[in-house]
Symmetry: C2
Subunit: 162 residues, 2 copies
Amino acid sequence: MEATRWLDEREDRAWRGYRRMRRLLDLELARELTQDAGLSEADYDVLSDLSETPHGRLRLRELADLMLWSRSRLSHHLTRMQQRGLVTREECADDARGSVVALTPAGRLAIESAAPGHVAAVRRHLIDLLTPAEIDALGALTHRVVDHLGARAPRPRHAPEA
Amino acid sequence: MEATRWLDEREDRAWRGYRRMRRLLDLELARELTQDAGLSEADYDVLSDLSETPHGRLRLRELADLMLWSRSRLSHHLTRMQQRGLVTREECADDARGSVVALTPAGRLAIESAAPGHVAAVRRHLIDLLTPAEIDALGALTHRVVDHLGARAPRPRHAPEA
DNA sequence: GGCGTTTCGATGACATGTCAACCAAGACGC
DNA sequence: GCGTCTTGGTTGACATGTCATCGAAACGCC
């Protein structure tokens, strides 16, 4: 057990800033999204990912992996979105266990109406506040961290554990 | 209504990277924290903020503002932490409505045992992956966004609304 | 002092997320 | 084909977060 390397002043500033930004940005984006479009961020992300696929369709598992959600969470959430008419579940042709999530016309309308406002909010509260160099730096740094974490994310079959 | 300024390739890369990092980092830090210290991130933040004050004490409202939590959320959470013996509520001398949250010895022990491991994890999965320049850039950029958002956060008394 | 307004915190109903258990069906070895 | 193991998805119990409401106390004005 070695002496802890605490964060120095600059590291601490970055870490605290990150956490605070995270929280404030979340609150504000969620607030605007509910107010302007009647969607939660979760709803938006589901609809957004679906709308980016060829036919607005994805296997439940694929969508869950894409969003880094548990299947359970997604299943519960889809049930609620289905009741609101935003998505439907269809049987899967090539795997009788599976189900396919599909965007309804209402769902497509919802995401298409919500997107411009949401993107504008993302710009207003984040992107447009950054210099081009900062945007590139943020892109580089986040992807590096994602790669690092991603490597350990999808735990191998039996989770050998260190 | 003007044409939407969608995100260009670099902006999109930064925005997606940010969201993905956010999620993965959260999952991993939370996982390690529960495993190593039996604390949730919420627990950790409460204990951490308390331990940074002179006597491990804060008014409930102050703590809520500091954490950007609603009072209701904090109140519920404290009830649970109190049952686990990590904090206590005390009456407030100068304001009979108020209550003061105080760290118990067990609470202080918990945060002091958890901190080194948590800081190490933050280093391992984020800080140590960044160059000094990136750390400074992250500090600068996040604080700018926080200032921007903070200005509109604490809604004025009667929330005049635009 | 008395009255209306605001703040503090707690609470209960409800929305959302997590976890473990489950069933059904594919995959694989033989 | 037949056991066995793994995977896909659902479900129910429970943990956590949100929202509206409430009572008590402080504040401000007269």
